[in-house]
Symmetry: C2
Subunit: 353 residues, 2 copies
C-alpha cells in the first residue's frame, strides 16, 4: 500500500485511537509548533524520542503501540536504566553512535511475497517500525526476534518515519517497513527528507533500501500479462500532488499508448478524482479497453476482476474499489483471453507462432 | 533483464553456439517455414517437442543445453521408454494431460532478491526453462531438485518460451524464468500469446505469474529514493516498438514531470536510440537533472553512478551503459543529497519537519 492511503485517514484515526495513545505515548511530542524543542517523555515503558509532526492531528499521540518483545527493551535508549535520550528534532540531541536505518519493502502482503533479503534484513533489525497492518503480516519469527516493534494504526507516516529515524540516531538498527516497494509512493524518500531536516546524513545511518514487489506487478500477475510494454504509474491522491497535474499526466499517458497503473483510486475524500480519471481515460481509449481491478492483492480479502473501461466509473461505489485497490488500464492492443489480460509486446509482428 | 536484450543478440548467439547445439538438440525443429509439422527428434537424451520459431536464425538449434539432473528425465515425455511425444505446433499433438506453466520473476539477480513464493514455485517445478545467465543464478537446491533444466545462451526467447509451453502441454510442471518481473518487458505475455497460437488455453496449464522485483525498483533502491512519485518505464529497443512511438512517449513523459526508468538503453545496434533519447530529455529537463545509472543490478559486476542529465549522452560509449544497464531520470524536483537521489513525494508542502 502506498503512503497516501494512510495519510488520507490520519484524521479519522487520530480520533479513534485515544485509548491506545494512553497505553504508550512512546515519548511522543507534538512538533507542529515553531518550537520543536525536546519534550522528554517520562513514560518508562518506552522512550523513543518520537515526535509527531503531523499538522493535521496536533492532538494525536498516534495510537502507537510499542509491543516490545524484549522486557529490557526501551527505544531510543537501549535500556531503561540508561540516561533518557532527549527527544526532538536534530541529530545533535542524540549522544549515541547512530545505528542503521533500512527501508524494507514487503511486497504484496503475505510473507511468501517477501524477498529473502527483506526477511533477513528484518531478522537482523533491532527495531521494526511500520503501520500496524503491515506489522501484522510479518512472520512470527521476525517479530519475535526484534527487540522492539513500533506500529501505528492508520496514523501519519511522517511521525512514524521520524520515529524510525530517531531510533536509528539513538543507536538502534532500525527497519522501517511498508508493503510493495519503498520507492513506489512510499517512505524511502520521506526518510531521507526527514533525516536531512534533522541535520543527519544518509551515510550516518548506513541508509539502505531493500526493494520489494510493487503493487503494480503483484496486481498485474493476478490478472495475467497486462503490463509487458511501456507503462505508467499514477496516483489519484491529490493530497501531495495537485489535481491539474494528475489530470495532465493521465491525458498524456492515455494518449501515448502506455498501460496505466492507478494507485490510490478512491477514498471517502477522493470520489471526484476517480470519476474525473474515468472521464479522461474514456477520451483517449476505447470503451471496451480491458481494465484489471485488484482489491487487496496478496491479502485474505483479495479480489480481482477484469472489466471494460466503460464499466469502471460505476465500480467506484462498490466494495471492489477502495484504498487497497490497484487498477491496471490496458493500452490499445490489450485484449482479454481466457480470463487473462494480455498486452502484446509486439513479438507477433516479427515472429510466426 | 528484459526480453529485448536477448532478442537483440539472437543472431550473434546463433553462430556462437554451433558446438552446443550438437550436444543437445532437444527435439528442436525449425518452424519458420509454413509447415510447422512435427519433426521428431531422435535424440534420446532430450525429447522436448521444442520447435524454433525464431525467423532470424533459421539454422539455430538454440545452443540449448538440457542439463538434466535426473537420469530418468526426458522432457515432453516423462521417461525415455514412453512413446515419443510428437513435437510441433498445436495442442492436439500432445496426448498427455497437460501439466502446469508458471512464469516466475527472479528479481534483481542474486538468490536473496527472490521472493519466497518464487523459490518454492521453482522447488516444486519439474522443469525449469530460462536464459542460461538466469539459470546460473539459481541456488543449487533449486536446480538440483528439478527433473530437467532447459537453458539457452543468448538465444531467442520465442523458441525458449515455446519449449516451456510444449513441455507443459506434454504433462510436465514447468517454470519459465526471467530476471525482474514477468510483466516488465518479459515473457508472461509472450507465453500467453504462444499458448493461444497452439490452440491451448491458459486454464489448461493453470497458467500463473509469480511476480518479482523489477529492475526499476532494484536500481532505484541502489541510488536512494528516485521513484517515489508518478513514474514511467520506457524501453529504447525499437525491435518490437517503432522509434517514432518511443520518441513520442519520451517527449510526453519528460514534459509531464514523470520520473523515467529507461530499459534497454543501449546495444551495438541501438546507439542512435540512446543519443536521441538524451536529446529529447534535454529538451524538457534541466541539464543538471540527476540521473541514476545502474549497471548489472544485483550482479557481481554491479556498478551504480549518479550523474547529471548533460553527462548522460557521453556515457553511452563507456562500459557503464550496456544491455544490463537501467537508467533512472529524475523529475524537476529530484535532487542529490549525500550520494542519494531523492524525488520528493510532496510531504514538505504539507508537513513541517
Amino acid at each position: 500500500m502506498s503512503t497516501d492511503d494512510t495519510t488520507t485517514d490520519t484524521t479519522d484515526a487520530s480520533t479513534d485511537t485515544t485509548d491506545a495513545s494512553t497505553e504508550s505515548k512512546c515519548g511522543a511530542s507534538s512538533a507542529d509548533t515553531a518550537e520543536a524543542s525536546a519534550e522528554a517523555s517520562t513514560d518508562t515503558e518506552s522512550k523513543c524520542g518520537a515526535s509527531t509532526t503531523d499538522e493535521e492531528s496536533s492532538s494525536s499521540k498516534c495510537g502507537a503501540s510499542s509491543s516490545s518483545s524484549s522486557s529490557s527493551s526501551g527505544c531510543g535508549a537501549k535500556a531503561d536504566d540508561e540516561e533518557e535520550e532527549e527527544v526532538g528534532a536534530t541529530v545533535d540531541d542524540f549522544d549515541a553512535d547512530p545505528g542503521r536505518l533500512i527501508a524494507v519493502g514487503l511486497g504484496p502482503g503475505q510473507p511468501e511475497g517477501m524477498t529473502t533479503r527483506a526477511k533477513s534484513t528484518l531478522a537482523e533489525a533491532e527495531h521494526i517500525v511500520g503501520y500496524t497492518t503491515y506489522v501484522d503480516l510479518l512472520p512470527d519469527e521476525i517479530t519475535e526476534s526484534a527487540d522492539d516493534i513500533y506500529d501505528t494504526p492508520m496514523c501519519g507516516e511522517v511521525s512514524r518515519t521520524e520515529e524510525a529515524i530517531d531510533r536509528a540516531l539513538a543507536g538502534n538498527d532500525v527497519a522501517i517497513i511498508g508493503s510493495g516497494d519503498p520507492n513506489v509512493y512510499a517512505l524511502a524518500g520521506l526518510a531521507l527528507e526527514i533525516l536531512e531536516s534533522k541535520g543527519g546524513t544518509a551515510s550516518m545511518v548506513d541508509f539502505e533500501v531493500v526493494p520489494g514487489v510493487p503493487a503494480a506487478q503483484s496486481c498485474a500477475a493476478r490478472v495475467g500479462a497486462p503490463l509487458v510494454n511501456d507503462t505508467v504509474s499514477i496516483s489519484l491522491s491529490d493530497h501531495l500532488t495537485d489535481m491539474p497535474t494528475i489530470e495532465s499526466r493521465l491525458h498524456a499517458a492515455a494518449k501515448e499508448g502506455f498501460t496505466i497503473t492507478i494507485y490510490n483510486p478512491w477514498s471517502r475524500k477522493r470520489r471526484d478524482n476517480f470519476q474525473k480519471c474515468c472521464e479522461i481515460l474514456a477520451e483517449h481509449r476505447d470503451p471496451e479497453t480491458p481494465v484489471g481491478v485488484v482489491h487487496g492483492a496478496g491479502r485474505e480479502d483479495e479480489q480481482a476482476e477484469i472489466v471494460e473501461l466503460q464499466e469502471l466509473a460505476d465500480l467506484g461505489e462498490t466494495d471492489l474499489i477502495d484504498m487497497t485497490t490497484t487498477i491496471i488500464v490496458g493500452n490499445e492492443d490489450t485484449y482479454v483471453w481466457d480470463d487473462r489480460m494480455v498486452t502484446p509486446r509486439g513479438y507477433e509482428t516479427k515472429y510466426d507462432y
